[in-house]
Amino acid sequence: MSTPTTAAVPTKWWSGGRSPFNVEYGKLMMWYFLMSDAFTFGAFLIAYGTIRFSSTSWPNPNEVFQSYPGMSEGTSAPLVFVSIMTFILIISSVTMVLAVRAGQEMKKNKVVLNLILTIIGGLAFLSCQAWEWTHLHHEGAWWGSNPFLNEDGTQSSTNFTNFFFTITGFHGFHVFSGVIINIIMLIMTLNNVFEKRGHYLMIEKAGLYWHFVDLVWVFVFTCFYLI
C-alpha cells in the first residue's frame, strides 16, 4: 500500500487487491469445505433423526453401549467407554492447537512433538472405535441386522444399527484421513518444508480439519449415545 495505514483510517477490506478476511485462499477454502462437510454430516444426522422421529420407539442407547474392554460378564457400564473416546478426541484437539501455535511461533520441535501426540490420540480413538465395532458385531449388530429391542420392548427396525455404523463409520473415515493428513504434516515438518517456506500455514489448515473431526464427534456422541 502506498500510504501507511494509521489507526484512524478504517481499513478497506472489501475494495479489492487484498483478502477481505485477511486470510490466504487455502484457509478460506478449508473453512468453506468444512462448511460443506458439515452439511454432509448434518444430512446424515438429520436423516437419522427423521427416521427416529418416524419410528414409534427406538432402542435405548444405554442398554446398547454399555461395555468396555476387559469388563466382566453380567455387569453394565453405560457411557463409560464412549466418554473415554470423547476425552481422547478432545485432548488430541488440544495438542493440535498447541501444534498450530508452535507453528506460528516457528518452533519446529514443539510442532513435531504436538503433532505426534495428536496422531497418537487419533490412532487411540480409531482403536477404541474398532474395539466397539467388533464388540457390537459379536453381539449380532451390523448393517442390516439389529439384535437390540426398542425401549418399550417392541421389535426394533434395523435402522438403529444401520445409522450407527454408517455415521460412526463415516466419522471414523474422517478421523482416519485426519490422521493421514497429520502424518503428512509431520513428515513435511521433519523435512523442514515449512521452515524453508517461512510459515506453518499448512498446519493451521490441517488443524482446522482435525478440530472439525472433533466437532463432528461432539454431535455424533450426543445424538447416538446420550439422547
Binding site: 500500500m1 495505514t5 470423547t86 478432545i90 439384535p147 417392541t154 446420550l226 439422547i227
Partner: protein, 139 residues
C-alpha cells in the same frame, strides 16, 4: 504495513487451558445428565427436558471448539458471518425433516392399523430374537 489481526493475540496459553477445562466440564455435565436420564420414564417431560439440556450443552461445546480451537472467534467479523450465516440453514433443515418424520409416523399410526398393531407388539423372548438376527446378518 498491513494491519494484522491474528498474529498477536493467537490464543494465549490461558485461553487453551481454560477452553480445555470448559470442554471437560461440559462433557462431564452431559454425562451426568445422561446418567440421570436413565432412571426417567420414556417420553416423560423430565426426560425430554433433559435431552434438550444435553443438546444445549452440545451446542455450547461446539461453540467453544469452533470459536477457540478453530480460532474463528479471532477472525475478522465478516469471515465469521460468512461461515455462521449459511449454517442457519440448518434450523429449517432440521425442523422440516424432523417434522415430516413425525408426521409420517402419525399418518401411519392413524391410517395403517396393521402397522400400528405390529409396532406395538412386545417381543417376549429376547434371546431367540438375537439368534435369528445373527443368522440374518450374513448376506
Amino acid at each position: 504495513m498491513q494491519p494484522t489481526t491474528h498474529a498477536e493475540q493467537h490464543g494465549n496459553k490461558h485461553e487453551i487451558r481454560n477452553v480445555t477445562i470448559i470442554l471437560t466440564v461440559l462433557t462431564l455435565l452431559e454425562l451426568s445428565l445422561g446418567f440421570a436420564m436413565m432412571k426417567m420414564a420414556d417420553g416423560s417431560t423430565a426426560k425430554i427436558s433433559t435431552k434438550i439440556a444435553i443438546i444445549i450443552l452440545m451446542l455450547a461445546k461446539a461453540y467453544y471448539i469452533v470459536g477457540y480451537f478453530m480460532h474463528l472467534k479471532h477472525e475478522i467479523r465478516n469471515l465469521i458471518m460468512t461461515i455462521v450465516v449459511p449454517l442457519t440453514l440448518f434450523i429449517w433443515f432440521i425442523i422440516a425433516f424432523l417434522g415430516d418424520g413425525e408426521s409420517y409416523k402419525n399418518l401411519r399410526n392413524t391410517y395403517d392399523a396393521h402397522k400400528k398393531a405390529v409396532s406395538t407388539q412386545k417381543v417376549e423372548v429376547k434371546k431367540e430374537v438375537k439368534e435369528v438376527h445373527v443368522d440374518d446378518a450374513k448376506h
